[in-house]
């Protein structure tokens, strides 16, 4: 049996690669991104597993995960990846795919009243950019 990536025809994989400009197949699952991620303990799927799931075109599993919305784009993963894969960029792309399907996670109602008084504007601007269309 011949194994080849050419046989993968998933539209989802194509879309992720096109929107992010990243080659998801460069990832060889070393897990350094997950090891260095400061928010990993709150994620339901580890960052390197997200990349693996993209490789095999498992769209639903990824897009339903909490992980996509927990990435803060701190770029620790990108800085540590031995294969030069920008995992944060891929997370941004996954959010973008969901937002274009109408998902909105701005969740302003979650903000405690007390917090409003001191919360910097910048937190809201980036929240809208990252989580809302």
């Amino acid at each position: 049996m011949k194994i080849s990536r050419k046989k993968i025809t998933s539209e989802f994989v194509k879309k992720v690669q096109e929107l992010s400009g990243e080659n998801v197949y460069a990832c060889y699952q070393c897990g350094k991104c997950s090891a260095g991620c400061p928010l990993v303990e709150h994620m339901d799927i580890l960052p390197h597993t997200i990349i693996r799931l993209i490789q095999i075109g498992s769209k639903d599993e990824i897009l339903e995960s909490k992980t996509v919305w927990l990435c803060s784009t701190c770029l620790q993963c990108m800085a540590k990846c031995p294969k030069g894969v920008d995992v944060a960029k891929i997370m941004d792309t996954l959010r973008e795919i969901l937002k274009r399907e109408g998902v909105d996670k701005a969740e302003l109602k979650k903000i405690a009243d007390k917090m409003w008084k001191k919360l910097p504007q910048q937190a809201l601007v980036v929240r809208f950019r990252k989580c809302s269309q």
């Binding site: 096109e18 929107l19 992010s20 400009g21 400061p38 928010l39 303990e41 709150h42 927990l70 803060s72 784009t73 701190c74 770029l75 620790q76 990108m78 800085a79 920008d86 944060a88 960029k89 941004d92 792309t93 973008e96 996670k105 969740e107 302003l108 979650k110 903000i111 917090m115 001191k118 919360l119 910097p120 504007q121 910048q122 937190a123 809201l124 601007v125 980036v126 929240r127 950019r129 990252k130």
Partner: protein
């Protein structure tokens, strides 16, 4: 006095007036007048990495166009604004086709790239740490400060890095010039949780807990930042940490320019301290740097 345009951004004119005002007062003592850029736009607080959406870059590009009309250099105080403006500037410089699309839309002419510099770079390269040291009138030797870099001053290092991405020292050298004792600790370049603070408070609290506990363990009495969001996260999350753990001791979080202003003998108005979640006045009084009567 040399005039250099600077970019305030949304937060510096609202919730982080302290950072804005103290920075301007400090540079004046060092013969540089930071002049607010005419006609600036929101930086978007986010560098959009999706390849097909140029709209998100328009705000920063408009700012870059304004800055280019007023000089070759733009100083930025907030780490997020610095990160976004610098990356958009580089993108526009490097990608001819995107540049053409954006400038055709804006009906503007591209006049070459701009030098986007962070405040710390301005102090290091334009003023010099030696000159800063000479101007110090109040030596802050009683304060042990942990510099917090966060993400956006360092990563991606080839684009925005103001220093070595894994072991930066620019912030520490700045603090040492002010006379402070600088504390090294393992989490100075880790994420504070960023915008997640409004929805995932527990996750942000966990990030902040590691940063503060390691800094304090290594001897810090305070942490200093250059980003209003990092500052808020480190400041705000301590309320919950103190509630959960009775032994947790809250520490004040300063903007880099607040410590700088203290060292340069500037009289800091109470409005600046009022912006903080954990009031730093009590701390400064015990260290003997402000008078108890000022409160």
């Amino acid at each position: 006095m040399k005039k250099i345009p600077y970019f305030p951004g949304c937060t510096l004119t609202n919730k982080a007036k302290g950072l804005n005002e103290t920075a301007k007062l400090c540079t004046k003592i060092l013969d540089i007048e930071l002049v607010e850029l005419d006609n600036w736009y929101c930086c978007q607080a986010n560098f959009s990495t999706v390849t097909d959406n140029l709209m998100n870059h328009l705000g920063p590009v408009r700012t870059i166009v304004s800055a280019k009309k007023q000089g070759e250099k733009l100083v930025v105080l907030c780490s997020t604004c610095y990160y976004v403006l610098k990356r958009v500037n580089l993108l526009i410089e490097a990608d001819e086709s995107k540049r053409k699309t954006v400038f055709d839309f804006l009906e503007e002419e591209y006049k070459g790239s701009l030098e986007v510099v962070h405040f710390l770079e301005l102090v290091r390269d334009e003023i010099g740490f030696d000159k800063l040291k000479e101007k110090v009138t109040l030596n802050l030797k009683n304060i042990s400060v942990a510099a917090y870099y966060g993400c956006q001053l360092l990563r991606p290092s080839k684009d925005v890095g103001i220093d070595d991405p894994f072991s930066p020292t620019i912030f520490e050298r700045f603090l040492i010039s002010l006379g402070c004792k600088s504390i090294d600790y393992p989490f100075k370049t880790e994420c504070c949780g960023s915008f997640l603070v409004t929805s995932e408070t527990q996750a942000v609290q966990d990030c902040v807990s590691k940063i503060i506990r390691y800094a304090v363990k290594n001897g810090a009495d305070t942490i200093t930042t250059s980003c209003p969001l990092c500052n808020f996260n480190l400041d705000w999350s301590q309320l919950a940490l103190a509630k959960e753990d009775k032994k947790f001791k809250k520490i004040p979080i300063f903007y880099l320019t607040e410590l700088m202003a203290l060292a340069l003998g500037i009289d800091i108005p109470n409005e600046v301290w009022d912006e903080h979640v954990i009031d730093p006045r009590a701390f400064l009084e015990t260290k003997g740097y402000i008078l108890a009567t000022k409160k």
